[in-house]
């Protein structure tokens, strides 16, 4: 009985490891450096445009503030997903752009 339980638990551990590995390899960037550079560029450009808009009228100030919030929030979401990637990627399920 103990042996059966151990076999089942071992199988479950293997399954959990396999699934975790799948989740860490799907939809990951093929090249992490390029991905981070593109993401950083987009965030920097969005923040620059947003800050430039803030110096104008009321409507432009609201739009600029929202653009900065969008860029920061979007980058946070992308980085959250990005840091969940393991050391290898699943071919055919790559994620090469921040969007």
């Amino acid at each position: 009985m103990v042996l059966v339980v151990e076999v089942v638990l071992t199988a479950m551990d293997h399954l959990a490891s396999s699934v975790a590995e799948t989740l860490r390899t799907n939809y990951c960037p093929a090249n992490k450096a390029i991905f981070l550079a593109v993401l950083g560029g987009i965030v920097a450009a969005s923040c620059a445009i947003g800050i430039a808009l803030m110096g104008r009228g009321y409507t432009a100030r609201v739009a600029g503030t929202l653009l900065v919030i969008f860029a920061v929030g979007g980058a946070a979401l992308d980085l959250f997903g990005f840091f969940g990637c393991g050391n290898r990627i699943e071919p055919g399920l790559t994620w090469d752009w921040p969007w």
């Binding site: 399954l15 959990a16 396999s18 699934v19 975790a20 799948t22 989740l23 860490r24 799907n26 939809y27 990951c28 409507t59 609201v62 739009a63 929202l66 919030i69 969008f70 929030g73 979007g74 979401l77 992308d78 959250f80 997903g81 990005f82 840091f83 969940g84 990637c85 994620w95 921040p98 969007w99």
Partner: protein
Amino acid sequence: MIPWHVSAQYCARQGATEYLEMWALLLVFAGGAVLTRKASRGVSGAFVGFAVLTGVLGASMFYGCSMTAASEQGMTTDLPHATYTILRCLGYDVRYLTNSWALFAVSCAGAIALLIFGTIRWKRAARAYAFTGSALLTVAAFVFAFFLLFGFSWCSSSRLF
């Protein structure tokens, strides 16, 4: 068991486009609420309502995906069948839900805006165009709401499992 954050990070990557779309939509509605606050409290309130609903739907989709991602890959789940079905339907086809919701919300907002425009404009032709456009957008909103609810109901009916 798979740690929750592993599934959540997988979902953030898998549905990045859709979650960014929902984030943008939420901010556009929030901006609309701020900009129309002084002009019309009712319109501003409607924008706030759409922003809140967008946030709730986006968060629900993310939660649904993260709670069912591991079991979609073959792991067992402790969730009751009904709960699992709802969560899976929220998190499985986020593109369909996002696009349906975006089209519905934008149609509603456009219909409201044109209705107000038609009310405050005194030229007959402009009013006619505004009211006609508002009516058409209202019909479109009903169509998109139908697709949104039909898709979710179809998935929830367990026909696909």
